[in-house]
């Protein structure tokens, strides 16, 4: 077990390192002059030279990379060109919103998907199963941004239950939560459609196994067999998909934050790309990648918690 953790930690660090190389390379080595792309084609040669100097573009690539990594490890991602403040400040302001959105989206996804998936498996081949599978097929087919617009039209414009967008800040908690409801639902519905199918097929697989027959032979109720015996054993594939979906949710916030005018990281990366704000884009892409890698690392740890057999093997 110690060995497993050690190996996973090493590969976690190596993955982050590899991601940083790719992100840096894409931003700095590929053809195109960052100074030119920031200032535009009309810029004078003097202005370009000055900006190259300011960005440190005259240094060798390797030393620029090392300087970037050294700064990033300490939370220093340089100065944003468009906002003229440290990138770390921009991130610190917007991170809580995006993290709240991603986590609430994940929680709603898991609750909805497990409930529907288990219900479908329990009613295998009956109307309930078909209904849930039809809805999930629909959910998979619908794009998140389109669903968001429908939700806004229905709940904000027509019924006026919830705000159509914007974020009042955490100083008004009730209003803040209300403004996150629609974005959360928009994120979660699509993801839970996928996860419900995984849950259903994993549960059906487990229901056929001998130890479930043993549990039935012990006179346990259907509900107890389902939730206490089938579901815990069906969790491994579910957790795998949840890890992947967390990545999709985090990147999904880019679209959702733009649709709902939420001042989070997703909107920041969108603006930064439009403004050709290189240090900010570079830091955000790295941050998104780090979140995804961390999520997968946590999934690996969850496997150990779920299945004692893995502990023995590792």
């Amino acid at each position: 077990m110690g060995y497993f953790l050690f190996r996973r930690t090493i590969s976690f660090v190596l993955t982050l390192l590899a991601v940083s190389v790719v992100v840096f390379a894409v931003m700095n080595i590929l053809p195109g002059d960052p100074a030119l792309s920031i200032l535009g084609l009309d810029a004078t040669e003097d202005a370009l030279a000055a900006l190259r100097e300011e960005l440190g573009l005259n240094e060798p690539v390797l030393s620029r990379y090392l300087a970037w990594i050294a700064g990033a490890v300490q939370g220093d991602f340089g100065i944003s060109q468009s906002f003229r403040v440290p990138v770390s400040e921009l991130i610190a302001e917007r991170l809580p919103l995006t993290v709240s959105l991603a986590i609430s989206g994940m929680v709603v996804t898991v609750i909805l998907a497990v409930a529907l998936g288990v219900a479908a498996a329990a009613n295998h081949g009956k109307a309930g199963d078909w209904g849930i599978m039809f809805l999930s097929q629909l959910g998979i087919a619908v794009p998140a941004f389109w669903l968001s617009i429908l939700l806004v039209l229905l709940f904000a414009v027509k019924l006026r239950w919830l705000p159509p967008g914007g974020f009042p800040g955490w100083s008004e908690p009730a209003a803040a939560v209300r403004s996150l409801i629609l974005p959360t639902v928009a994120l979660a519905l699509v993801q839970s459609a996928v996860l419900a199918r995984v849950t259903r097929s994993s549960a059906l697989e487990v229901m056929r196994l001998d130890y479930i027959r043993t549990a039935r032979a012990m006179g346990f109720s259907r509900r107890r067999v389902l939730w206490r015996h089938v579901l815990p054993n069906a969790l491994i594939p579910i957790v795998t998909i949840v890890g992947l979906q967390f990545a999709a949710l985090v990147t999904g916030t880019i679209v959702i934050e733009n649709v709902f005018y939420l001042p989070g990281l997703g909107r920041l990366i969108f603006q930064s790309i439009a403004n050709r704000d290189l240090p900010t884009v570079q830091a955000l892409v790295m941050l998104f990648a780090a979140i995804v890698v961390t999520a997968n690392f946590i999934v690996d740890l969850l496997y150990l918690a779920i299945d004692p057999r893995l502990k023995a093997r590792s």
Partner: protein, 316 residues
């Protein structure tokens, strides 16, 4: 106390169990023998109310006086573990792999008997001792993959005994175990049945194990109980042609010597058990029977004494 009368299990294409009648009283030890696919397991499942969804059960089955044919799932749930318990063939696969075996054995006591964790743990420890699990304190905390097949079967027996059932159905309890372990598990089941005056239904195709474990035996073929009687009597002087074939097909010093001339081949029953839908409407064994008459195929043989066979009177 279990009483079956004309108990029939229909499975889509045909009858997996046909008009089975028998009584299992406290302390009875009854064997059910026969080839694979002859209905032994389906009969066991019928006694637990666990035939597959597609199956239809008819006839009469009472458990402690309650009619269970047509009873709902909720009624069966109250019976399972407390009146009738069952252990299955594959001890490797029959235990929840992510639960400690102690927790598995404690669960029915906490759910059905309302015991608290400490009381359930104490009883689980007692049960582990009773079924002969060495170092029971440590075993309680282990996972199924950490213990051997024989120990797992003992854990399953402890689980089945958790709510002190009146009848224990053991479906091929020793088949997946090696010979030494199988012998000890058989002896354990006999000892438990005697000490607890618990009924034991021992389903097996291992005739030696059935001979050791049971007092009475029912031989099944194609869903019919074709012969029954005292275990010693039936297994020593089989009267039904199927039982005779079954017995002659097992290696023993006698038939090995008799067949030595023919390159040491064991006698076999020609053919194999046909699928349910293709069974003859009359005697199920017709087509494979060496002493078949014209009436056998179409007409169901009546129960005569201890067997159903058209040639029963001739002492076939």
């Amino acid at each position: 106390m279990i009483e079956a009368a004309g108990l029939t299990v229909e499975l889509g294409a045909g009858q997996a169990v046909r008009e089975a009648s028998f009584v299992i009283a406290p302390g009875d030890r009854i064997g059910i023998v026969g080839e694979s696919g002859c209905g032994k397991t389906m009969l066991g499942l019928a006694l637990m109310g666990m035939v597959p969804d597609a199956g239809r059960v008819s006839g009469s089955l009472t458990v402690d006086g309650t009619q269970m044919v047509g009873a709902g799932e909720a009624t069966w749930q109250r019976l399972r573990a407390r009146r009738v318990a069952m252990i299955f063939q594959e001890p490797m696969a029959a235990l929840n792999p992510i639960k400690r075996v102690g927790e598995t054995v404690m669960e029915p006591m906490m759910v059905h008997l309302g015991l608290g964790r400490d009381a359930a743990r104490a009883r689980a420890l007692e049960l582990f001792r009773e079924v002969g699990i060495p170092d029971p304190e440590a075993r309680l905390r282990q996972f199924p993959h950490e213990i051997s097949g024989g120990q797992r079967q003992r854990v399953l027996i402890a689980l089945a005994l958790a709510c002190d059932p009146g009848v224990l159905i053991a479906d091929e309890p020793t088949t997946a175990l090696d010979a030494n372990v199988a012998l000890r598990v058989t002896q354990l089941l006999v000892g438990l049945a005697e000490r607890r005056t618990m009924g034991l239904v021992f389903i097996s195709h291992d005739l030696a194990a059935v001979a050791r474990a049971t007092e009475r035996v029912m031989v099944m073929y194609g869903g019919d109980i074709v012969e029954r009687g005292a275990t010693g009597e039936v297994l020593v002087r089989p009267r039904h042609p199927y039982t005779q074939g079954l017995l002659s097909a097992r290696p023993s010093p006698g038939n090995m010597r008799a067949t030595a001339g023919r390159r040491g081949r064991l006698p076999t029953i020609p053919g194999s058990v046909p699928p349910l839908a293709e069974l003859a409407p009359g005697c199920r064994f017709s087509g494979r029977c060496p002493v078949e008459l014209d009436v056998c195929r179409g007409e169901r043989p009546p129960l005569r004494g201890t067997m159903i066979c058209h040639r029963a009177e001739e002492g076939a």
